[in-house]
Each structure stands twice: as C-alpha cells, then as structure tokens.
C-alpha cells in the first residue's frame, strides 16, 4: 500500500481501479472530468477507457459490457445524466451481471451548470440504489462497495459526489498495483437482455420487492450510521454531513445521522435513530430528499416527530451549503452558540467584480466579432450553446441570445426561423458539442427545410472542461492516434451544400464568409477553425505605436482582457496578449502591430 494525496475525483478513479474495473466511459463535465483523466494515468492490461461522444453513448457502452459480467464505470455531470436517462431508465429494468457504477456529479450552487437537479431523486425515479459520499476518503471506499452491491442485486447503481467532494483533496491509501476483474463474457439470453413489455412488467414487480430488501441491507451498511443521543436529531447527507460534523465537534452528544445511501432509504437505521427523538433537522443540498423520506417514514409509523429542513424554511431551499450556513441552521435548531464569525466586516469597501470572460486571444472572440460585423444592421438571432463560447454573451460582444443545453443552439435557431422567417438565424456550436449532440439538429434542419447558418467554433479541443480530446482531434483515451473525424465531411455527407472553412483571425475573410452564407437560403455552415490558445503556442505579442489616437475602438469592440488602459492610455498587457491580431485589424489608424 502507498499513500496518495489526491482530488476527490482521483479518489473515485483509484477506488474504481482497486475494484478492478474493466470498462470506463464518460463525457467531460465539471465537476466530474478528472475521474477519467486520472484513470488514463494508470493504464491496465484488460481495461478499456474512453471519452464517449456523449453520455448516452457512454452509458450504453458500459451497459453491454456489464451484461457480459465486466465491471464498468460511467462518469458524467448531473445534466449529462439527462442525456443518458433514456438508456438508464430501461437498464434499470433489465439489470446487469457485472458491477456497473454510474458516477453523476451534482453541482449545488450551481457553480458551473445549468441546473440544480438532484441525482438522488433520479435514483429514486429509476428505482436503483445511489451512494452519496461525504468526503474523498469515503468516496474511495464507497465506490468499491458500489460495485459489490451492483453485483449482489444485479442492478446498475448511481454514485453521486458533489463539487466539494470532487474537487477536495485528501490523502488515501491505495494498493501499489491494480488488477482487473475477471468475467465470464456475454452469454446470449434474449429473455434477459432484450427489453420487451413483458420483461419490463415482470422486472418492475421484482424491483419493487427487491428495493425494500436493499433498504434493509443498507441499514447495516457502515457509512449509514448515527452517533449521540437526546430528543433532537440531525440528519445529513453528502458533504453537508461533513459541515454538520465540523460544527458539532463542540457538541459530540448531539444525535447526528449520516444517510450515505439515500435510495433505497435505510429505513430501519432511520427508525432506530428516531427512537426518543422529538425534533429533526435535515441538512442536505439540492432537493429536500432525506426530509421527505423521513416525513413519509414518520407518517407511516405514526411517530410524533417534527421534521425541519428545506420544506419548513429552516434550511435554504436552493444554492450550495457551506460550513457557515450549516452552522447557522444547527445553532438555530439546537439553541447553541452561533459559530465564531471572525472579524466585523460591516464596513467593507465595494469589491471589484471579476466575471469570467473569454481569454485574451481566444479565437471565439474573433468568430463572434466577424458574425456581428457581417450582420450589423440586419435582423439576426444568435443561438448559443454550452462551452467556453457561452461567454460570447458578455459585453461588448453580446452575441448569445439563447443558451439552453448541449446542442440546443442548432435546433433553437430553427424554431426562431419558423416564427420569424425574415430574420437571419445563427447557431454557434463548439467542435466537441457538435459531435456530442449537434449532428441530429443539423439533419433536422435539412429535412425540415429550415433556413439557418451553423457556425462551428472549431478550436480542436473540449476547452471548458479542461481540454479533453474528442472525435475531431485524432487522439483517444487509450493513447492512440486515430483518424480525425472531419466536421466538414460530416456536414457534407448529411447534405449541407454550402460549407465554408475560415480562420476567424483573418477578419476580412471571416466577415465575407458570413455575408456569403447569410445571403443564401437553406442550411449553410461556416467552420471557424483556430486552436484554443491554451493548447497552442502564441504567435507573438502586439504593440501599440504612437500612431494611436486613443479612440479606444479596440477595447470597445473586442473586450479583449489584454487591452488595458494605463493612466488613461490604451496599452497591451504583454503577459496576456497572444498576438492573435484581432485588435490590429480593427484599429482605424493601424496603430497596433
């Protein structure tokens, strides 16, 4: 054994390796991406690792491998689970043979997501077990248990860490070497692996009988536990349990119960903890899941216990918990001293805001600018998508009118076209998002004869989540160089007649391409090709000469963070400038070179 100081996501990865995982698939998404990246650092004979094209593909790859008895891991962020929900709902009925663990990382806040959805609710909806670790150390052990339970009950299981588990570091003890699980291989059995209404009916009945059994089993699963005594109890789940423990370390006698497997609910454990209890406070993030489970349980057993939490306004109904918010809720509930608040900062001066912006030299800035220039004065709609380029909405670009979910920009541009045929409708999609969920939208546009211009912002990477490779990059997670899948050929194969590929950093050519496409009816595409500055070498630095007339057009039009003013004079921050040259093509007097 050796000690490793790792991120929670690393602990999850190492735990899966310790369980001998055979197939790992997933799609990048904050806060889950580092799980697969960690696994890629431990190549094993007999371990297949992939970034799948999207979460649905990842789920299906892992599912059939688990039919064959292999241990499989699927990773994604919570909204990715929406994409993968089609296979998962059905898979919950069919079940698996080898252990299959689906990590769906939740993002309370939300810090970098569209929703505050709760994967525990998803598990309940799918009727499958879910594990909810409260620390990286626990995540390491728990993911190994998750494989065991999956195999014991022949069901896929969910595992849902939250941002503060994924991105927290701790030191864990791991084996010097990992081995892979041995499995039987796929055994044909259409009565088991082919879903038909009859199978679904029979398995539904089986699942409803099985789940209370799992809940009983979970009641003696060690991480589900309580300590302390007295008439007041605190129930907590996930990282909130850690926050509660932090505050309660001064009050070790208070009854504190951790719910580590929210579904099927460990009822017997909860009932044991409720003995002699008059009031309960539930500390959890996202949905009032534990709270509702307790209300149901208390109702069914006609106990006289009051339950406080999100539903009663005793805990915040949205947003992320913190050590502070939990301490506050607990001191209110227990009548104990509030946590030490530190210094009095009521006279704090106004702080500068630091909204995220596109990096200096980001080619997306140039692409947005070219479309903006080309369409100036013409009625146009700009449908955005998920990725760094969502930041194109910020001033001064202001080029994202809608953003909903992965791939939606392409189809939403069509909807706007049908209600406003006079307007030019644009969709912006990144290269990774195009492969993940953009292609069907293009076929939809062609088939239904929409008028739209697709702008693929091709920067040769999945930038937002930390530069993962994708089908267009020619590299995969097995470390192999593979044929690049060409976006241009893909579009041409679908039947897009007009496809222009331009370098967005060549402003004139880019503007001309946009104008040319916008003038034509039907589905047209422009591929703006220029690598992300984080994965390419800067071409040099620009400088502002004394020709500058201080009109500040460069700043006003691009908003590039490398363009700054020093004592009121426009200048370039050389530590940031990548020499992309966008500003020099905008300066009216040619002062930037």
């Amino acid at each position: 054994m050796k000690r490793e100081y790792v991120m929670g996501n690393g602990a999850i990865a190492l735990g899966a390796l310790a369980a001998g995982v055979n197939v790992v698939s997933g799609y990048p998404g904050t806060p889950s991406s580092e799980i697969i990246e960690t696994i890629s650092k431990y190549p094993q004979q007999g371990l297949h690792l992939e970034w799948s094209v999207n979460e649905k593909a990842a789920m299906e790859v892992a599912a059939s491998a688990a039919y064959a008895g292999a241990r499989t891991l699927v990773t994604m962020k919570q909204v990715g689970l929406n994409v993968a929900s089609d296979p998962l709902m059905s898979l919950a009925y069919v079940g698996v043979k080898g252990g299959m663990v689906i990590v769906a990382a939740d993002d309370p806040g939300p810090i970098s997501s569209q929703t505050e959805q709760d994967t525990r609710m998803f598990a309940q909806y799918c009727r499958i077990p879910v594990f909810d670790p409260s620390s990286p150390e626990e995540a390491y052990r728990m993911i190994q248990d998750a494989f065991v339970y999956s195999e014991k009950y022949h069901t896929p299981v969910l595992f849902r860490p939250t941002t503060r588990i994924c991105h927290a570091y701790a030191s864990i003890e791991v084996p010097e070497q990992f081995g892979v699980h041995t499995y039987e291989g796929f055994v044909k059995d259409s009565g088991r692996w082919v879903i038909f209404p009859r199978l679904s009916y029979a398995n539904h009945a089986m699942i409803e009988k099985r789940n209370p059994q799992i809940g009983k089993d979970f009641s003696s699963y060690a991480p589900n536990h309580f300590t302390g005594k007295g008439p007041k109890a605190v129930f907590a789940s996930g990282v909130s349990y850690a926050y509660a423990k932090e505050y309660l370390k001064q009050y070790p006698d208070i009854r504190l119960c951790q719910i580590a497997t929210p579904h099927p609910f460990p009822e017997q454990l909860a009932l044991a903890c409720l003995e002699g209890v008059e009031e309960v406070l539930c500390i959890e993030e996202l949905s009032p899941y534990v709270e509702t489970q307790l209300l149901q349980l208390i109702g069914a057993h006609q106990l006289s216990v009051r339950v406080y939490g999100k539903l009663t306004g005793h805990a915040a109904s949205s947003g992320e918990n913190s050590a502070d918010s939990v301490a506050q809720a607990l001191s209110g509930f227990l009548g104990t001293a509030p946590a030490d608040a530190g210094l009095d900062l009521s006279d704090m001066p106004a702080l500068p805001l630091r909204p995220p912006v596109l990096c200096a030299g980001c080619p997306h800035r140039a692409s947005f600018y070219a479309v903006k220039k080309a369409m100036q004065g013409k009625k146009s709609y700009f449908c955005g998508d998920i990725g760094c380029y969502t930041l194109g909405n910020a001033m001064p670009l202001d080029m994202v009118d809608t953003c909903l979910c992965m791939g939606a920009g392409i189809t939403m541009a069509q909807g706007l076209h049908w209600v406003d045929p006079q307007a030019s409708c644009f969709a912006f999609v990144g290269d990774s998002t195009f492969f993940a969920s953009g292609m069907t939208g293009v076929v939809n546009a062609l088939y239904n004869e929409a008028d739209m211009t697709l702008c693929v912002l091709d920067n040769s990477t999945t930038a937002m989540t930390g530069h993962q490779p994708h089908p267009g990059t020619g590299r995969n997670m097995m470390g192999n160089v593979v044929d690049k899948i060409s976006i241009e050929n893909t579009l041409a194969g679908m039947g897009v007649k007009k496809i222009l590929t331009v370098d967005p950093l060549n402003l004139d050519a880019a503007v001309t391409a946009v104008q040319e496409c916008a003038a034509e009816p039907g589905v047209k595409a422009i591929i703006f090709q220029s690598p992300c500055i984080a994965i390419s070498k800067p071409t040099g630095k620009m400088q502002i000469s004394e020709k500058c007339i201080q009109c500040k057009k460069c700043i006003r039009e691009t908003g590039c963070p490398a363009l700054i003013t020093i004592d009121g004079k426009v200048s370039i921050d050389e530590s940031l400038c990548t020499g992309c040259g966008l500003c020099s093509q905008i300066c009216p007097v040619g002062a930037i070179q």
Binding site: P31, R164, E246, A339, L343, P352, A394
Partner: protein
C-alpha cells in the same frame, strides 16, 4: 498541529501550486491534510481560492468563517473578499499589486487596490508585500507564489519550516525553473523574517 490556511487570488496567478506545496510538505511531516480548489469557469480571470486544512480536527473541505489562521492573498481586493475566513487573531500576507478586473478597461471603476490595502491594515495583523520589486529580479510575477510561502515561513506563521518547503519545491517544480523559485522563496523569507523581528 491544527492550522487552516486560505490562499486567494485571481485565476492564473499560481495559487494552486502554493496550496499543493503546503499540503504536500505538511503531509510529508506526517500531518493529516485536506484541501479544496476552485476549478472551472471561475479560473478564467475570476476570483479563486484554495483552502488548506492541516490537522485531524478538520471535517469540512472548506474553512468555516472566522477559522483561518493565515490568509495568503495574491491580490489586495481578493484578501478583503476572503477576510471573513480569518480568525480574529489570524494573520494576512498580501501582495500590494492590484489586478484590475478583466472588464476594467470597458467599465473603468478606477480600482487600484489602495483602499483595500488600507482596509486590511486597519482590520487585522497583516504583512503587505511589494510583489513587484520582490519579483523584479526574476522577470515574472509568477514567482510570487513561492515568495509568499517564503514570507510566511520567515514570519514563522506557516507552521512548516524552510527545509520541508524547499524539499517539496525540489520535488514539484521542473528543474529549469527551480533556481529562480528557490531564490524567490528566500527573498520572501527575508521579508517575513524582517516582519517577524519587528
């Protein structure tokens, strides 16, 4: 040892390396360590923090308000933004160099850090470090991350000694940058020692 250290700054300043160095040096000294980082959208020019918690008594990955023994700030406004984490008798080490928001040239709020530094000095025990002159000999402000660690060691507030920090640096920093990093660390130490004597 029980020690909570909050490191804050702006995306791209190298706060993560500073937290990694502290965490691994403390681990090598046999301490239990937990830490947490800002990752994601905020990394792009936004405010970033690292929470490093040394000792068995730390359960939450994030430091509760009023609990940090030490705040290492790479930027004046970020120090103030995170001041609520500081213990009433805790200490702040802060760079004097302001980083204007990336949107500053568009909105021009006139932010220059002076108000923040004055506020800090009136509120808590703090050591303001002139990062510009400290880093000048090395030609890059990127060396501030090890310099501020040196200052904390010099002032005797990090809870770790120079030896163990230097050892960790040798292990974590690529050979071609190590010489400058060690020099920056030592320059920081001198500033810290001078403060400690006062």
């Amino acid at each position: 040892m029980n020690k909570d250290i909050l490191i804050c700054g702006v995306g791209g300043q190298g706060t993560v390396l500073a937290s990694k160095l502290i965490a691994s040096a403390a681990t090598s000294c046999g301490e239990t360590v937990h830490s947490a980082e800002t990752i994601g959208m905020a990394q792009r020019g936004g405010s970033v923090t690292s929470h490093v918690r040394i000792g068995r008594e730390a359960f939450s990955p994030l430091i509760p308000s009023g609990s940090a023994d030490l705040v290492l700030a790479f930027e004046p406004a970020e120090a103030v933004r995170n001041l609520r984490y500081l213990k009433t008798d805790g200490m702040v080490l802060c760079s004097s160099v302001p980083v204007k928001p990336t949107t500053e040239s568009l909105s021009d709020t006139g932010y220059d850090g002076t108000e923040m530094l004055a506020y800090l000095q009136g509120k808590c025990r703090c050591l303001i470090i002139d990062a510009q002159s400290l880093c000048a000999p090395f030609g890059s402000s990127q060396y501030f991350n090890v310099a501020i660690l040196g200052a904390a060691v010099g002032a005797g507030v990090l809870g770790l000694d120079a030896e163990s920090m230097l050892q960790e640096m040798e292990r974590k920093i690529p050979a071609k940058f190590i010489e400058n990093n060690i020099a920056a660390f030592r320059a920081g130490m001198q500033i810290g020692e001078a403060y400690g004597i006062k």
